[in-house]
Subunit: 324 residues, 2 copies
Protein backbone atom coordinates (compact mmCIF):
# COMPACT_ATOMS: atom_id res chain seq x y z
CA UNK A 1 0.00 0.00 0.00
CA UNK A 2 2.79 2.46 0.76
CA UNK A 3 4.16 2.25 -2.77
CA UNK A 4 0.74 2.96 -4.17
CA UNK A 5 0.35 6.24 -2.29
CA UNK A 6 3.92 7.50 -2.17
CA UNK A 7 4.06 9.13 -5.58
CA UNK A 8 0.81 11.14 -5.62
CA UNK A 9 1.48 12.24 -2.06
CA UNK A 10 4.90 13.63 -2.95
CA UNK A 11 3.52 15.19 -6.13
CA UNK A 12 0.84 16.89 -4.08
CA UNK A 13 3.43 18.28 -1.69
CA UNK A 14 5.61 19.52 -4.50
CA UNK A 15 2.81 20.97 -6.64
CA UNK A 16 2.51 24.45 -5.13
CA UNK A 17 6.18 25.22 -5.70
CA UNK A 18 6.12 23.82 -9.23
CA UNK A 19 3.20 25.89 -10.50
CA UNK A 20 4.06 29.45 -11.54
CA UNK A 21 1.45 31.74 -9.94
CA UNK A 22 2.34 34.59 -12.33
CA UNK A 23 2.87 32.98 -15.75
CA UNK A 24 2.62 36.25 -17.72
CA UNK A 25 5.33 37.90 -15.60
CA UNK A 26 8.87 37.51 -16.98
CA UNK A 27 11.59 36.41 -14.57
CA UNK A 28 13.07 39.51 -13.00
CA UNK A 29 13.14 41.79 -9.96
CA UNK A 30 9.42 42.67 -9.99
CA UNK A 31 8.28 39.07 -10.04
CA UNK A 32 10.80 38.06 -7.38
CA UNK A 33 9.76 40.97 -5.14
CA UNK A 34 6.05 40.09 -5.36
CA UNK A 35 6.50 36.37 -4.72
CA UNK A 36 9.01 36.92 -1.91
CA UNK A 37 6.59 39.28 -0.18
CA UNK A 38 3.61 36.94 -0.53
CA UNK A 39 5.62 33.95 0.69
CA UNK A 40 6.91 35.90 3.71
CA UNK A 41 3.53 37.20 4.87
CA UNK A 42 1.79 33.83 4.40
CA UNK A 43 4.42 31.65 6.09
CA UNK A 44 3.44 31.11 9.75
CA UNK A 45 7.12 30.52 10.58
CA UNK A 46 8.18 33.86 9.10
CA UNK A 47 8.67 36.94 11.29
CA UNK A 48 6.77 38.83 8.57
CA UNK A 49 3.72 36.58 8.86
CA UNK A 50 0.41 38.48 8.55
CA UNK A 51 -2.88 36.86 9.65
CA UNK A 52 -5.52 36.34 6.94
CA UNK A 53 -7.72 39.05 8.49
CA UNK A 54 -5.14 41.72 7.68
CA UNK A 55 -4.13 40.54 4.20
CA UNK A 56 -5.83 43.39 2.37
CA UNK A 57 -4.63 44.45 -1.07
CA UNK A 58 -5.90 47.53 -2.93
CA UNK A 59 -5.68 48.20 -6.65
CA UNK A 60 -6.30 51.31 -8.68
CA UNK A 61 -8.30 50.45 -11.82
CA UNK A 62 -7.64 52.81 -14.77
CA UNK A 63 -4.11 52.24 -16.10
CA UNK A 64 -3.47 49.65 -13.39
CA UNK A 65 -5.92 46.82 -14.06
CA UNK A 66 -7.06 47.93 -17.49
CA UNK A 67 -6.00 50.57 -20.05
CA UNK A 68 -6.90 54.26 -19.76
CA UNK A 69 -5.88 55.62 -23.18
CA UNK A 70 -6.80 57.62 -25.22
CA UNK A 71 -9.24 58.55 -22.39
CA UNK A 72 -10.82 56.89 -19.35
CA UNK A 73 -13.22 54.23 -20.62
CA UNK A 74 -15.95 55.70 -18.45
CA UNK A 75 -15.64 59.05 -20.22
CA UNK A 76 -15.94 57.35 -23.62
CA UNK A 77 -19.03 55.57 -22.30
CA UNK A 78 -20.50 58.84 -21.03
CA UNK A 79 -20.02 60.42 -24.47
CA UNK A 80 -21.69 57.48 -26.22
CA UNK A 81 -24.67 57.66 -23.85
CA UNK A 82 -24.91 61.40 -24.35
CA UNK A 83 -24.89 61.01 -28.14
CA UNK A 84 -27.62 58.43 -27.93
CA UNK A 85 -29.76 60.55 -25.60
CA UNK A 86 -29.25 63.65 -27.76
CA UNK A 87 -30.36 61.73 -30.85
CA UNK A 88 -33.68 61.09 -29.08
CA UNK A 89 -33.95 64.56 -27.56
CA UNK A 90 -31.52 67.25 -28.79
CA UNK A 91 -32.76 69.71 -26.13
CA UNK A 92 -30.72 67.92 -23.45
CA UNK A 93 -27.56 69.52 -24.90
CA UNK A 94 -28.06 72.72 -22.94
CA UNK A 95 -24.45 73.92 -22.79
CA UNK A 96 -21.32 74.19 -24.93
CA UNK A 97 -19.66 71.44 -22.92
CA UNK A 98 -22.54 69.02 -23.54
CA UNK A 99 -22.61 69.92 -27.24
CA UNK A 100 -18.86 69.33 -27.51
CA UNK A 101 -19.17 66.00 -25.67
CA UNK A 102 -22.00 64.82 -27.92
CA UNK A 103 -19.83 65.60 -30.95
CA UNK A 104 -16.94 63.66 -29.45
CA UNK A 105 -14.94 66.92 -29.27
CA UNK A 106 -12.69 66.01 -26.34
CA UNK A 107 -10.92 69.37 -26.21
CA UNK A 108 -14.15 71.35 -26.20
CA UNK A 109 -15.44 69.11 -23.44
CA UNK A 110 -12.27 69.41 -21.34
CA UNK A 111 -12.47 73.21 -21.67
CA UNK A 112 -15.34 73.08 -19.18
CA UNK A 113 -13.03 71.77 -16.45
CA UNK A 114 -14.34 69.66 -13.59
CA UNK A 115 -17.73 71.41 -13.67
CA UNK A 116 -18.08 70.49 -17.32
CA UNK A 117 -17.30 66.85 -16.60
CA UNK A 118 -19.88 66.82 -13.82
CA UNK A 119 -22.41 68.16 -16.35
CA UNK A 120 -21.59 65.30 -18.70
CA UNK A 121 -21.83 62.79 -15.87
CA UNK A 122 -25.15 64.24 -14.67
CA UNK A 123 -26.81 63.85 -18.05
CA UNK A 124 -25.25 60.47 -18.88
CA UNK A 125 -25.26 58.82 -15.42
CA UNK A 126 -28.27 60.43 -13.68
CA UNK A 127 -31.94 59.55 -13.36
CA UNK A 128 -31.31 55.83 -13.53
CA UNK A 129 -31.22 53.01 -10.98
CA UNK A 130 -27.78 51.53 -10.20
CA UNK A 131 -29.02 48.20 -11.58
CA UNK A 132 -30.06 49.67 -14.96
CA UNK A 133 -26.90 51.76 -15.09
CA UNK A 134 -24.74 48.70 -14.50
CA UNK A 135 -26.59 46.75 -17.19
CA UNK A 136 -26.02 49.61 -19.64
CA UNK A 137 -22.32 49.93 -18.76
CA UNK A 138 -21.82 46.16 -18.94
CA UNK A 139 -23.43 46.00 -22.36
CA UNK A 140 -21.27 48.87 -23.64
CA UNK A 141 -18.02 47.50 -22.18
CA UNK A 142 -18.52 44.04 -23.64
CA UNK A 143 -19.63 45.05 -27.16
CA UNK A 144 -17.97 48.37 -28.04
CA UNK A 145 -14.61 48.28 -29.85
CA UNK A 146 -11.78 50.43 -28.48
CA UNK A 147 -10.88 53.24 -30.94
CA UNK A 148 -7.26 52.19 -31.52
CA UNK A 149 -6.92 48.49 -30.61
CA UNK A 150 -10.27 47.33 -31.95
CA UNK A 151 -10.69 45.01 -28.95
CA UNK A 152 -13.89 45.33 -26.94
CA UNK A 153 -13.13 47.41 -23.84
CA UNK A 154 -13.67 44.52 -21.43
CA UNK A 155 -10.84 42.60 -23.14
CA UNK A 156 -8.39 45.39 -22.33
CA UNK A 157 -7.69 44.29 -18.79
CA UNK A 158 -4.08 43.38 -18.09
CA UNK A 159 -3.52 39.62 -17.96
CA UNK A 160 -0.53 39.90 -15.56
CA UNK A 161 -2.56 41.97 -13.11
CA UNK A 162 -5.50 39.57 -13.24
CA UNK A 163 -2.99 36.81 -12.43
CA UNK A 164 -1.67 38.89 -9.53
CA UNK A 165 -5.20 39.40 -8.15
CA UNK A 166 -5.86 35.67 -8.37
CA UNK A 167 -2.51 34.78 -6.82
CA UNK A 168 -3.15 37.06 -3.86
CA UNK A 169 -6.64 35.64 -3.33
CA UNK A 170 -5.25 32.10 -3.55
CA UNK A 171 -2.99 33.13 -0.68
CA UNK A 172 -6.01 34.38 1.32
CA UNK A 173 -5.68 38.07 0.57
CA UNK A 174 -8.84 40.09 0.06
CA UNK A 175 -8.50 42.18 -3.10
CA UNK A 176 -10.18 45.57 -3.47
CA UNK A 177 -10.41 48.04 -6.31
CA UNK A 178 -9.85 51.63 -5.13
CA UNK A 179 -10.48 53.85 -8.13
CA UNK A 180 -11.02 57.48 -9.05
CA UNK A 181 -13.58 56.10 -11.51
CA UNK A 182 -17.25 55.73 -10.69
CA UNK A 183 -18.07 52.95 -8.25
CA UNK A 184 -21.12 51.71 -10.19
CA UNK A 185 -19.31 51.75 -13.53
CA UNK A 186 -16.58 49.48 -12.18
CA UNK A 187 -19.05 47.23 -10.38
CA UNK A 188 -20.73 46.58 -13.73
CA UNK A 189 -17.75 44.46 -14.80
CA UNK A 190 -15.51 43.90 -11.75
CA UNK A 191 -16.76 40.44 -10.90
CA UNK A 192 -16.45 39.07 -14.42
CA UNK A 193 -13.22 40.90 -15.29
CA UNK A 194 -11.33 40.59 -12.01
CA UNK A 195 -13.25 38.23 -9.73
CA UNK A 196 -13.95 41.20 -7.43
CA UNK A 197 -17.53 41.42 -6.08
CA UNK A 198 -19.36 44.77 -5.84
CA UNK A 199 -18.73 45.11 -2.10
CA UNK A 200 -14.98 45.13 -2.72
CA UNK A 201 -15.10 48.11 -5.06
CA UNK A 202 -14.28 51.59 -3.69
CA UNK A 203 -14.70 54.49 -6.11
CA UNK A 204 -16.00 57.96 -6.78
CA UNK A 205 -19.63 58.21 -5.73
CA UNK A 206 -22.59 60.16 -7.07
CA UNK A 207 -25.62 61.41 -5.17
CA UNK A 208 -28.11 58.62 -4.59
CA UNK A 209 -31.56 58.65 -3.04
CA UNK A 210 -34.24 56.21 -1.97
CA UNK A 211 -37.97 56.57 -2.47
CA UNK A 212 -41.04 54.34 -2.39
CA UNK A 213 -43.40 57.10 -3.57
CA UNK A 214 -43.95 55.50 -6.97
CA UNK A 215 -45.17 52.32 -5.28
CA UNK A 216 -41.92 50.55 -6.19
CA UNK A 217 -39.17 51.03 -3.59
CA UNK A 218 -36.25 52.32 -5.63
CA UNK A 219 -32.70 53.59 -5.17
CA UNK A 220 -31.87 56.19 -7.84
CA UNK A 221 -28.65 57.73 -9.12
CA UNK A 222 -29.38 61.45 -9.04
CA UNK A 223 -26.26 62.78 -10.75
CA UNK A 224 -23.68 65.03 -9.13
CA UNK A 225 -20.66 63.82 -7.21
CA UNK A 226 -20.76 63.20 -3.46
CA UNK A 227 -17.27 61.73 -2.96
CA UNK A 228 -14.12 61.87 -5.09
CA UNK A 229 -11.99 58.77 -4.53
CA UNK A 230 -8.76 60.14 -5.92
CA UNK A 231 -5.42 61.41 -4.50
CA UNK A 232 -5.91 62.16 -0.77
CA UNK A 233 -9.44 60.78 -1.17
CA UNK A 234 -8.14 57.23 -1.61
CA UNK A 235 -7.01 56.64 1.97
CA UNK A 236 -10.29 58.25 3.08
CA UNK A 237 -12.32 55.95 0.80
CA UNK A 238 -10.39 52.93 2.08
CA UNK A 239 -11.02 53.79 5.73
CA UNK A 240 -14.67 54.38 4.98
CA UNK A 241 -15.26 51.12 3.11
CA UNK A 242 -12.68 48.74 4.52
CA UNK A 243 -12.03 50.32 7.90
CA UNK A 244 -8.38 49.39 8.15
CA UNK A 245 -5.09 50.03 6.40
CA UNK A 246 -4.12 47.60 3.59
CA UNK A 247 -0.70 45.94 3.45
CA UNK A 248 -0.43 45.92 -0.35
CA UNK A 249 -1.23 48.78 -2.74
CA UNK A 250 -0.88 49.02 -6.50
CA UNK A 251 -1.34 52.03 -8.77
CA UNK A 252 0.09 53.72 -11.83
CA UNK A 253 -0.26 57.48 -11.46
CA UNK A 254 0.27 60.23 -8.92
CA UNK A 255 -3.45 59.94 -8.17
CA UNK A 256 -2.40 56.76 -6.35
CA UNK A 257 0.51 58.32 -4.48
CA UNK A 258 -1.33 58.97 -1.20
CA UNK A 259 -2.74 55.42 -1.20
CA UNK A 260 0.72 53.89 -1.67
CA UNK A 261 2.32 56.30 0.80
CA UNK A 262 -0.22 55.54 3.53
CA UNK A 263 -0.29 51.79 2.87
CA UNK A 264 3.47 51.39 2.98
CA UNK A 265 3.91 53.67 6.02
CA UNK A 266 2.17 51.13 8.28
CA UNK A 267 4.00 48.79 10.66
CA UNK A 268 5.22 45.39 9.50
CA UNK A 269 5.70 44.14 5.95
CA UNK A 270 4.22 46.34 3.24
CA UNK A 271 4.21 46.29 -0.54
CA UNK A 272 3.89 49.22 -2.94
CA UNK A 273 3.65 48.55 -6.67
CA UNK A 274 3.62 51.04 -9.55
CA UNK A 275 2.76 49.97 -13.08
CA UNK A 276 4.95 52.03 -15.40
CA UNK A 277 3.55 52.41 -18.93
CA UNK A 278 6.71 51.79 -20.94
CA UNK A 279 5.30 49.73 -23.78
CA UNK A 280 4.35 51.92 -26.75
CA UNK A 281 4.13 48.94 -29.07
CA UNK A 282 1.81 46.58 -27.26
CA UNK A 283 0.07 49.19 -25.04
CA UNK A 284 0.68 52.94 -24.64
CA UNK A 285 3.88 54.66 -23.48
CA UNK A 286 3.39 57.62 -21.13
CA UNK A 287 4.33 58.87 -17.69
CA UNK A 288 5.37 62.45 -16.81
CA UNK A 289 3.20 64.29 -19.33
CA UNK A 290 -0.30 64.24 -20.72
CA UNK A 291 -3.84 64.60 -19.41
CA UNK A 292 -4.27 61.07 -18.06
CA UNK A 293 -2.26 58.85 -15.73
CA UNK A 294 0.48 61.40 -15.04
CA UNK A 295 3.31 59.86 -13.02
CA UNK A 296 5.99 62.15 -11.64
CA UNK A 297 6.31 61.85 -7.89
CA UNK A 298 5.82 58.10 -7.99
CA UNK A 299 8.59 57.76 -10.56
CA UNK A 300 10.94 60.00 -8.59
CA UNK A 301 10.33 58.43 -5.18
CA UNK A 302 9.58 54.75 -5.87
CA UNK A 303 13.23 53.78 -5.36
CA UNK A 304 13.80 55.50 -2.03
CA UNK A 305 10.41 54.31 -0.76
CA UNK A 306 11.12 50.69 -1.67
CA UNK A 307 8.19 50.46 -4.08
CA UNK A 308 8.38 48.04 -6.99
CA UNK A 309 8.31 49.84 -10.33
CA UNK A 310 6.89 47.44 -12.91
CA UNK A 311 8.25 47.98 -16.42
CA UNK A 312 5.40 46.78 -18.64
CA UNK A 313 7.65 46.28 -21.69
CA UNK A 314 10.25 44.28 -19.73
CA UNK A 315 8.24 42.57 -17.01
CA UNK A 316 5.15 41.38 -18.85
CA UNK A 317 5.25 38.64 -21.49
CA UNK A 318 1.62 39.34 -22.34
CA UNK A 319 -0.43 42.50 -21.89
CA UNK A 320 -4.09 41.88 -22.60
CA UNK A 321 -6.61 39.42 -21.23
CA UNK A 322 -8.28 39.44 -24.65
CA UNK A 323 -6.75 38.06 -27.82
CA UNK A 324 -5.83 40.82 -30.17
CA UNK B 1 -15.59 -2.88 8.35
CA UNK B 2 -19.09 -1.70 7.49
CA UNK B 3 -20.30 -2.10 11.03
CA UNK B 4 -17.38 -0.07 12.32
CA UNK B 5 -18.23 2.97 10.19
CA UNK B 6 -21.99 2.77 10.03
CA UNK B 7 -22.77 4.50 13.30
CA UNK B 8 -20.52 7.58 13.12
CA UNK B 9 -21.48 8.05 9.49
CA UNK B 10 -25.18 8.11 10.30
CA UNK B 11 -24.60 10.32 13.29
CA UNK B 12 -22.70 12.74 11.09
CA UNK B 13 -25.55 12.83 8.60
CA UNK B 14 -28.11 13.36 11.32
CA UNK B 15 -26.13 15.95 13.27
CA UNK B 16 -27.17 19.14 11.45
CA UNK B 17 -30.86 18.47 12.03
CA UNK B 18 -30.28 17.51 15.66
CA UNK B 19 -28.42 20.64 16.65
CA UNK B 20 -30.61 23.66 17.37
CA UNK B 21 -29.08 26.64 15.52
CA UNK B 22 -31.06 29.10 17.66
CA UNK B 23 -30.99 27.71 21.22
CA UNK B 24 -32.08 30.99 22.87
CA UNK B 25 -35.17 31.25 20.68
CA UNK B 26 -38.30 29.63 22.14
CA UNK B 27 -40.32 27.34 19.89
CA UNK B 28 -42.88 29.48 18.07
CA UNK B 29 -43.79 31.26 14.86
CA UNK B 30 -40.71 33.52 14.75
CA UNK B 31 -38.24 30.66 15.09
CA UNK B 32 -40.12 28.53 12.56
CA UNK B 33 -40.26 31.41 10.06
CA UNK B 34 -36.50 32.07 10.30
CA UNK B 35 -35.45 28.45 9.99
CA UNK B 36 -37.92 27.72 7.18
CA UNK B 37 -36.58 30.68 5.22
CA UNK B 38 -32.95 29.73 5.72
CA UNK B 39 -33.59 26.09 4.81
CA UNK B 40 -35.47 27.11 1.65
CA UNK B 41 -32.85 29.53 0.31
CA UNK B 42 -29.94 27.17 1.04
CA UNK B 43 -31.49 23.98 -0.42
CA UNK B 44 -30.30 23.56 -4.02
CA UNK B 45 -33.42 21.51 -4.73
CA UNK B 46 -35.75 24.28 -3.54
CA UNK B 47 -37.37 26.71 -5.97
CA UNK B 48 -36.42 29.42 -3.47
CA UNK B 49 -32.71 28.55 -3.60
CA UNK B 50 -30.43 31.62 -3.51
CA UNK B 51 -26.75 31.32 -4.52
CA UNK B 52 -24.17 32.12 -1.82
CA UNK B 53 -23.18 35.33 -3.63
CA UNK B 54 -26.62 36.83 -3.02
CA UNK B 55 -27.13 35.66 0.57
CA UNK B 56 -26.73 39.10 2.10
CA UNK B 57 -28.33 39.89 5.47
CA UNK B 58 -28.39 43.37 7.04
CA UNK B 59 -28.93 44.22 10.69
CA UNK B 60 -29.61 47.48 12.42
CA UNK B 61 -27.49 47.75 15.59
CA UNK B 62 -29.08 49.91 18.34
CA UNK B 63 -32.12 48.12 19.76
CA UNK B 64 -31.66 45.26 17.31
CA UNK B 65 -28.30 43.68 18.18
CA UNK B 66 -27.75 45.47 21.49
CA UNK B 67 -29.79 47.68 23.80
CA UNK B 68 -30.44 51.38 23.20
CA UNK B 69 -31.95 52.53 26.50
CA UNK B 70 -31.92 54.89 28.35
CA UNK B 71 -30.01 56.46 25.42
CA UNK B 72 -27.86 55.30 22.51
CA UNK B 73 -24.62 53.92 23.96
CA UNK B 74 -22.64 56.15 21.61
CA UNK B 75 -24.29 59.23 23.09
CA UNK B 76 -23.40 58.10 26.62
CA UNK B 77 -19.83 57.57 25.41
CA UNK B 78 -19.75 61.03 23.84
CA UNK B 79 -20.90 62.60 27.12
CA UNK B 80 -18.23 60.71 29.09
CA UNK B 81 -15.52 61.84 26.66
CA UNK B 82 -16.79 65.40 26.82
CA UNK B 83 -16.72 65.37 30.63
CA UNK B 84 -13.18 64.07 30.61
CA UNK B 85 -12.00 66.64 28.06
CA UNK B 86 -13.73 69.46 29.95
CA UNK B 87 -12.01 68.42 33.18
CA UNK B 88 -8.68 68.98 31.41
CA UNK B 89 -9.78 72.13 29.59
CA UNK B 90 -13.10 73.74 30.61
CA UNK B 91 -12.87 76.24 27.73
CA UNK B 92 -14.01 73.57 25.25
CA UNK B 93 -17.55 73.90 26.63
CA UNK B 94 -18.33 76.86 24.39
CA UNK B 95 -22.12 76.50 24.19
CA UNK B 96 -25.14 75.71 26.34
CA UNK B 97 -25.54 72.37 24.62
CA UNK B 98 -21.95 71.37 25.40
CA UNK B 99 -22.31 72.52 29.00
CA UNK B 100 -25.53 70.52 29.38
CA UNK B 101 -23.89 67.46 27.84
CA UNK B 102 -20.88 67.68 30.14
CA UNK B 103 -23.24 67.80 33.11
CA UNK B 104 -25.10 64.75 31.83
CA UNK B 105 -28.22 66.91 31.41
CA UNK B 106 -29.87 64.94 28.60
CA UNK B 107 -32.81 67.30 28.20
CA UNK B 108 -30.63 70.37 27.94
CA UNK B 109 -28.50 68.62 25.39
CA UNK B 110 -31.48 67.45 23.33
CA UNK B 111 -32.82 71.04 23.32
CA UNK B 112 -30.07 71.83 20.82
CA UNK B 113 -31.63 69.50 18.24
CA UNK B 114 -29.55 67.82 15.57
CA UNK B 115 -27.13 70.76 15.43
CA UNK B 116 -26.50 70.39 19.13
CA UNK B 117 -25.78 66.69 18.77
CA UNK B 118 -23.34 67.44 15.96
CA UNK B 119 -21.58 69.90 18.30
CA UNK B 120 -21.25 67.17 20.92
CA UNK B 121 -20.00 64.70 18.31
CA UNK B 122 -17.49 67.23 16.94
CA UNK B 123 -15.87 67.83 20.31
CA UNK B 124 -15.99 64.19 21.45
CA UNK B 125 -15.27 62.41 18.13
CA UNK B 126 -13.10 64.91 16.20
CA UNK B 127 -9.38 65.52 15.91
CA UNK B 128 -8.49 61.87 16.42
CA UNK B 129 -7.42 59.04 14.13
CA UNK B 130 -9.99 56.26 13.54
CA UNK B 131 -7.55 53.81 15.19
CA UNK B 132 -7.25 55.87 18.40
CA UNK B 133 -10.98 56.54 18.41
CA UNK B 134 -11.75 52.84 18.12
CA UNK B 135 -9.33 52.02 20.94
CA UNK B 136 -11.02 54.62 23.15
CA UNK B 137 -14.53 53.39 22.30
CA UNK B 138 -13.51 49.76 22.81
CA UNK B 139 -12.03 50.56 26.21
CA UNK B 140 -15.17 52.43 27.26
CA UNK B 141 -17.59 49.77 25.99
CA UNK B 142 -15.79 46.93 27.74
CA UNK B 143 -15.25 48.60 31.12
CA UNK B 144 -18.09 51.07 31.75
CA UNK B 145 -21.18 49.83 33.62
CA UNK B 146 -24.60 50.55 32.13
CA UNK B 147 -26.58 52.98 34.37
CA UNK B 148 -29.50 50.64 35.09
CA UNK B 149 -28.34 47.05 34.50
CA UNK B 150 -24.83 47.43 35.87
CA UNK B 151 -23.45 45.21 33.09
CA UNK B 152 -20.63 46.58 31.00
CA UNK B 153 -22.08 47.91 27.76
CA UNK B 154 -20.42 45.28 25.58
CA UNK B 155 -22.28 42.55 27.49
CA UNK B 156 -25.61 44.07 26.51
CA UNK B 157 -25.76 42.48 23.09
CA UNK B 158 -28.71 40.16 22.53
CA UNK B 159 -27.74 36.50 22.72
CA UNK B 160 -30.56 35.38 20.36
CA UNK B 161 -29.45 37.87 17.71
CA UNK B 162 -25.81 36.83 17.99
CA UNK B 163 -27.02 33.24 17.48
CA UNK B 164 -29.00 34.37 14.44
CA UNK B 165 -25.94 36.10 12.95
CA UNK B 166 -23.86 32.97 13.48
CA UNK B 167 -26.57 30.69 12.07
CA UNK B 168 -26.83 32.79 8.91
CA UNK B 169 -23.05 32.82 8.46
CA UNK B 170 -22.93 29.04 9.00
CA UNK B 171 -25.38 28.87 6.09
CA UNK B 172 -23.05 31.01 3.95
CA UNK B 173 -24.82 34.31 4.37
CA UNK B 174 -22.71 37.46 4.65
CA UNK B 175 -23.90 39.52 7.61
CA UNK B 176 -23.70 43.31 7.67
CA UNK B 177 -24.51 45.91 10.27
CA UNK B 178 -26.41 48.88 8.80
CA UNK B 179 -26.76 51.41 11.59
CA UNK B 180 -27.71 55.02 12.17
CA UNK B 181 -24.85 54.98 14.69
CA UNK B 182 -21.32 56.02 13.85
CA UNK B 183 -19.45 53.57 11.65
CA UNK B 184 -16.18 53.79 13.64
CA UNK B 185 -17.92 53.42 17.00
CA UNK B 186 -19.52 50.14 15.90
CA UNK B 187 -16.33 48.91 14.26
CA UNK B 188 -14.58 49.25 17.63
CA UNK B 189 -16.51 46.24 18.92
CA UNK B 190 -18.29 44.58 15.95
CA UNK B 191 -15.76 41.83 15.38
CA UNK B 192 -15.58 40.78 19.03
CA UNK B 193 -19.28 41.25 19.78
CA UNK B 194 -20.84 39.93 16.58
CA UNK B 195 -18.10 38.33 14.48
CA UNK B 196 -18.59 41.12 11.92
CA UNK B 197 -15.37 42.62 10.50
CA UNK B 198 -14.99 46.40 9.93
CA UNK B 199 -15.63 46.12 6.18
CA UNK B 200 -19.10 44.71 6.87
CA UNK B 201 -20.21 47.70 8.94
CA UNK B 202 -22.28 50.45 7.29
CA UNK B 203 -23.08 53.47 9.44
CA UNK B 204 -23.28 57.21 9.78
CA UNK B 205 -20.01 58.78 8.66
CA UNK B 206 -18.08 61.84 9.76
CA UNK B 207 -15.76 64.02 7.72
CA UNK B 208 -12.37 62.40 7.32
CA UNK B 209 -9.17 63.64 5.72
CA UNK B 210 -5.72 62.37 4.82
CA UNK B 211 -2.45 64.20 5.21
CA UNK B 212 1.24 63.36 5.26
CA UNK B 213 2.30 66.92 6.14
CA UNK B 214 3.40 65.97 9.65
CA UNK B 215 5.78 63.37 8.23
CA UNK B 216 3.48 60.57 9.35
CA UNK B 217 0.81 59.71 6.78
CA UNK B 218 -2.42 59.92 8.75
CA UNK B 219 -6.16 59.65 8.25
CA UNK B 220 -8.01 61.92 10.71
CA UNK B 221 -11.59 62.18 11.91
CA UNK B 222 -12.39 65.87 11.48
CA UNK B 223 -15.80 66.00 13.12
CA UNK B 224 -19.03 66.90 11.36
CA UNK B 225 -21.31 64.44 9.63
CA UNK B 226 -20.90 63.58 5.95
CA UNK B 227 -23.51 60.84 5.63
CA UNK B 228 -26.50 59.90 7.79
CA UNK B 229 -27.23 56.19 7.55
CA UNK B 230 -30.78 56.30 8.87
CA UNK B 231 -34.30 56.02 7.41
CA UNK B 232 -34.10 56.58 3.60
CA UNK B 233 -30.32 56.74 4.05
CA UNK B 234 -30.11 53.02 4.84
CA UNK B 235 -30.87 51.71 1.33
CA UNK B 236 -28.47 54.39 0.04
CA UNK B 237 -25.72 53.27 2.45
CA UNK B 238 -26.30 49.64 1.50
CA UNK B 239 -26.00 50.35 -2.23
CA UNK B 240 -22.87 52.40 -1.59
CA UNK B 241 -21.09 49.82 0.55
CA UNK B 242 -22.51 46.49 -0.60
CA UNK B 243 -23.65 47.38 -4.11
CA UNK B 244 -26.64 45.09 -4.20
CA UNK B 245 -29.94 44.54 -2.45
CA UNK B 246 -29.94 42.17 0.56
CA UNK B 247 -32.44 39.32 0.89
CA UNK B 248 -32.74 39.53 4.69
CA UNK B 249 -33.18 42.67 6.81
CA UNK B 250 -33.66 43.07 10.54
CA UNK B 251 -34.45 46.20 12.53
CA UNK B 252 -36.50 47.45 15.47
CA UNK B 253 -37.64 51.00 14.76
CA UNK B 254 -39.18 53.09 12.00
CA UNK B 255 -35.63 54.22 11.21
CA UNK B 256 -35.29 50.74 9.69
CA UNK B 257 -38.56 50.87 7.74
CA UNK B 258 -37.06 51.91 4.39
CA UNK B 259 -34.37 49.20 4.68
CA UNK B 260 -36.96 46.48 5.34
CA UNK B 261 -39.33 47.84 2.71
CA UNK B 262 -36.65 47.91 0.01
CA UNK B 263 -35.11 44.56 0.98
CA UNK B 264 -38.41 42.71 0.97
CA UNK B 265 -39.66 44.35 -2.26
CA UNK B 266 -37.01 42.52 -4.31
CA UNK B 267 -37.73 39.46 -6.44
CA UNK B 268 -37.53 35.95 -4.99
CA UNK B 269 -37.56 34.93 -1.33
CA UNK B 270 -37.11 37.77 1.17
CA UNK B 271 -37.16 38.06 4.93
CA UNK B 272 -38.07 41.07 7.06
CA UNK B 273 -37.64 40.89 10.84
CA UNK B 274 -38.65 43.42 13.48
CA UNK B 275 -37.50 43.08 17.08
CA UNK B 276 -40.37 44.32 19.25
CA UNK B 277 -39.30 45.51 22.70
CA UNK B 278 -41.99 43.88 24.81
CA UNK B 279 -39.93 42.80 27.80
CA UNK B 280 -39.97 45.43 30.55
CA UNK B 281 -38.64 42.99 33.11
CA UNK B 282 -35.55 41.59 31.47
CA UNK B 283 -34.95 44.46 29.03
CA UNK B 284 -36.96 47.63 28.30
CA UNK B 285 -40.56 47.83 27.05
CA UNK B 286 -41.23 50.53 24.44
CA UNK B 287 -42.52 51.02 20.91
CA UNK B 288 -44.85 53.82 19.74
CA UNK B 289 -43.64 56.57 22.05
CA UNK B 290 -40.42 58.01 23.38
CA UNK B 291 -37.29 59.63 21.99
CA UNK B 292 -35.47 56.43 20.94
CA UNK B 293 -36.41 53.42 18.85
CA UNK B 294 -39.92 54.61 18.00
CA UNK B 295 -41.88 51.91 16.16
CA UNK B 296 -45.22 52.85 14.63
CA UNK B 297 -45.35 52.12 10.93
CA UNK B 298 -43.42 48.88 11.33
CA UNK B 299 -45.87 47.70 13.99
CA UNK B 300 -48.89 48.66 11.86
CA UNK B 301 -47.65 47.16 8.61
CA UNK B 302 -45.51 44.15 9.60
CA UNK B 303 -48.48 41.78 9.22
CA UNK B 304 -49.61 42.85 5.78
CA UNK B 305 -46.02 42.97 4.54
CA UNK B 306 -45.27 39.46 5.78
CA UNK B 307 -42.53 40.61 8.16
CA UNK B 308 -41.80 38.57 11.27
CA UNK B 309 -42.50 40.54 14.44
CA UNK B 310 -40.30 39.13 17.20
CA UNK B 311 -41.84 39.40 20.67
CA UNK B 312 -38.79 39.62 22.94
CA UNK B 313 -40.71 38.53 26.05
CA UNK B 314 -42.29 35.51 24.34
CA UNK B 315 -39.71 34.50 21.73
CA UNK B 316 -36.45 34.79 23.61
CA UNK B 317 -35.49 32.48 26.48
CA UNK B 318 -32.46 34.60 27.21
CA UNK B 319 -31.79 38.27 26.46
CA UNK B 320 -28.20 39.20 27.16
CA UNK B 321 -24.90 37.81 25.98
CA UNK B 322 -23.42 38.80 29.32
CA UNK B 323 -24.31 37.21 32.61
CA UNK B 324 -26.33 39.55 34.75
Amino acid sequence: MRALFATPFLALLAFPSLADPLPSWNAGDSKVAIISFVEAVTDPASEDFVPVHDRIAVFDNDGNLWAEQPAYFQLLYAIDVLKQKAADDPSILGSDVLKAAAEGDMEGMMAGGVEGLVEVINVSHGGITPEDFKASAYDWLTTTPHPTTGMVFSDMTYQPMVELLRYLRDEDFTTYIVSGGGIDFIRAISEEAYGIPPWQVVGTEGNTSYSADSGTPTVMKDGGVSFVDDKEGKPVGIMRHIGQRPIFASGNSDGDFAMLEWTTAGDGPRFGLIVHHTDGEREFAYDREGHIGVLNRGLDEAGERGWTLVDMAQDWSRIWMGNQ
